[in-house]
Amino acid sequence: MDQARTQNVRMNRMKGRVRAWLSKPANIILLIFLATLAVLTLYPLLSMLTETVTIHVGREARAARLPAGSLSLYHFQRLFATAENDYSWIQFYQPFLNTLLVSVASSVIAILFGGVVAFLVTRTNLKYKKFVSAVFTFPYIMPSWTLALFWETFFKNVNIGLKTSNGIMASVFGVYMPEWFVYGAFPIALVLGLHYAPFAYILIGGILRNMDANLEEAATILKTGRGRIIRKITLPIVKPAMLSTFLLVFASSMSAYSVPVFLGSPVRYYVLSTKMKSLMDSYPGQAYIIVGVMILFGVAILLLNQRVTNSRKQFTTVTGKSGQISKINLGKANRPVAVILVVILLLVAVVPLVTFAMESIIIKAGDYSPSNMTLDFWIGTNLSERLDQGDSTGILLNPKVWNALGYSLGLAVTCALVAGTCGILVGYGVAKRRGSRLASWVNSLSFFPYLMPSLAFGAIYLAMSSKIPWLRGFLLLGLVGSVKYLPFASRSGVNAMLQLSGEIEEAALITGVPWWKRMIRVIFPIQKSSFLSGYLLPMVSCMRELSLFVLLVPTSNTILTTMLMQYSEKGWAQFGNAINLLIILVVLLVNFTVNKLTGASIDKGVGG
């Protein structure tokens, strides 16, 4: 009797506890995301790992002299320890070292360039500040291959690389640049560094902007010189942000694909990502091992970054809100510095667009005289009668282009909606249950797709979809895009939610406002611009994405970026440049419209 009662009490206590746990929406959200993300990220990871020990049909099976489908460590042995013909050196170690070199160099460039500009904008009386800060994020908004393509088009000449034609530098100015300048490690690192410099600008600038001026003033009172203040006070405070930037740029550069393809492949300069793609067709097992190495790198960087950002908290306590920052007077140096900066920014952000526009209207490559120009590639008709290659209409009259644009936009909007909304929910759950194990699992899982190189991610989903008949076309692309861009959205979601004190929601809870209404009427409106940034970043990224979708599109005419790639492969340079310009303009247009209408901006999404 008594025992039955204690049993009963225990049951009730259990039930009560479970009910209390489930009554919190944050817990349910976290549970759902834990399950979903485990399937969407861990399953691909596992299937990738099995690929590394599976012998695939074709060349692999023949080379290994093993039946297709059998399990073996052959790929590891082949990739890591084959001395004959320097196979391992060429296929793995050389690209690996190249990756390290390029990634480190691009991180340093990004920090130097972005950090210096951030310092000039926040801490000095630099002229043209508005222009500088507006244009500085341009290179990040534009597709990463833009600069690479621009670099190649501008500097290429008949002496180097594919030796096909002269670029502007050679044909207009008659200057033939050496090969190391146009192709290989130097331009790859430089272009990636410039592309990711906005990371440094946003992260370091954010700290500098919020840094309590009293810290520097206290040093000034103690009769410390300007230079010493910067060295001994400003730099140490910014150091964690610099480290964070370094790791972020390193990870991004490591998995970058399109830049090394444009600037490395013509001279057989390989990094891990391009090596992986070239191995994928013939020796997928080895390609997947490279993917694994890249993921390992990514995880290590993520862990490092977490340690850095955790120790960063000791600094955020000292950043108060005092607004009067004594700006350094640049004096006579002001104008020259400002002009140099504006020129660099024009070169990086504006000149490429002009170049693409030029290249899309000249008939014969290398000849920039007015008589060689035409708008036919944009709006011409019956081109096939006059040209020996390409489409018969200009891209603006070509229904294929419009279809692809519509598809790209639809895909971008879908991915943005799914990833952005999930990001807010993840942010809500993680912030509410901060410190719990469940929350940190979901947080890490939602960041994981960031570490998967896009190309590999696409390849894995391709393999996955072959087993699921209904996962095709738009559905597949939308799913891949949403998962891949979730990290951006969940980052800004978590940041936004952490800034919001829990009391704000509890004040509504206590008057009986249901959860969905609290989200829509209270939480979302308060952090509107941060949340919308969580939608914007996936949208912009999706619009310009190539490597993620390239293996998954039903035909290459499906979306604009694959169409662009197809045209460049065919050598239809003018059409390609025109489409490239179209993509960039659409991306910029979307970004600035959303920014003007809602106040959301890319910088809010990149929160290291």
Binding site: G16, R19, E503, E506, A508, G512, V513, P525, I526
Partner: protein
Amino acid sequence: MPEIILKNVAKRFGKFVAVDNLNLHIESNSFITLLGPSGCGKTTTLRMIAGLETPTEGSISIDGKVVFDADQGINLPPNKRDVGFLFQNYALWPHMTVYQNIAFGLENLKWDKQRIRTRVNELLKMLKIEQFEKRYPSELSGGQQQRVAIARTLAPGPKVLFMDEPLSNLDAKLRMEMRAELKRLHRDTDSTFVYVTHDQLEAMTLSTRVCIMETGVLQQFAPPLEMYNNPANLFVADFMGNPTMNFVDGHLDQDGTVRFGGMTARFEHAGEPLAEGDVVVGIRPEYIHIDEDGKLEATVYSTLPSGMETTVKLDVDGTSLTAVVFGDVDYPVDSKVKCSFHKAAVLFDKATGKNIGKGKLVL
């Protein structure tokens, strides 16, 4: 009018015990203060009663209705408990105007428009914030925001009102003003108030009963003056009152003689004679008088005159004592004065810190 009963309530976060075996009977219509240093579990207790936090053990009932019972698996959500909650930093919704902030909860209760309008106007008038109706919270001063937060909390007419350090963000002058307002509000609304603070003066002046806690354990639950005059233990004695009580280590003999800090006195008190042993003698500063007839010789160490009263630090034969003298008096530093003990002193057991008797020290 509702009473609140807590039975054996405990809250644990993993191994950390935030609140341990708490029993409280909060009478209807009372103004209860949960008092203690930060981290003592007072806010957790408040949030558990409100339903924002789920206890690990025990049961809670409000107005005769069980709102939580671990053994029966009962746990009503906060909105079903008919309570109001005033947050420390107000938690006003920044994107809504003052009017919308107050009306939001009512809209949610499906009140009709006219009724909401009337109720909001009533509250705006009561808290003297009519002119701010259309403003956003960021356009208001701290004190005005506080009033809006109170209006929002009062709007649905909750029977119980919880407040979590609501005055800690205000400046000293405004705090005094709001204290008076809150006390008045308690009378006017006819509801039960539960108030969290770490400020003993706030607890003393506002509440009908104070519940003082340390590291999750209830130390004493009594009316403020009783707690002041007859504290249950050293912790309570030390926490209540400013300047704090004087504590001097000593020894109590069988015959009632106390020797402490070079002084000897007889401890006179009603009731059973006390057992011999080591004690701590507690004397309130205002019960040490400086007068010509005093039997103790003391040297003035320092003085803090405030106009209304002067806090004097004395050195009696190497023992430091704090005295409060009322009126605008001052003494030269290092001068010799005479002093004596008046009214009550409290003896605490040296080992346990427990109050063992209240009486008079006769030199």
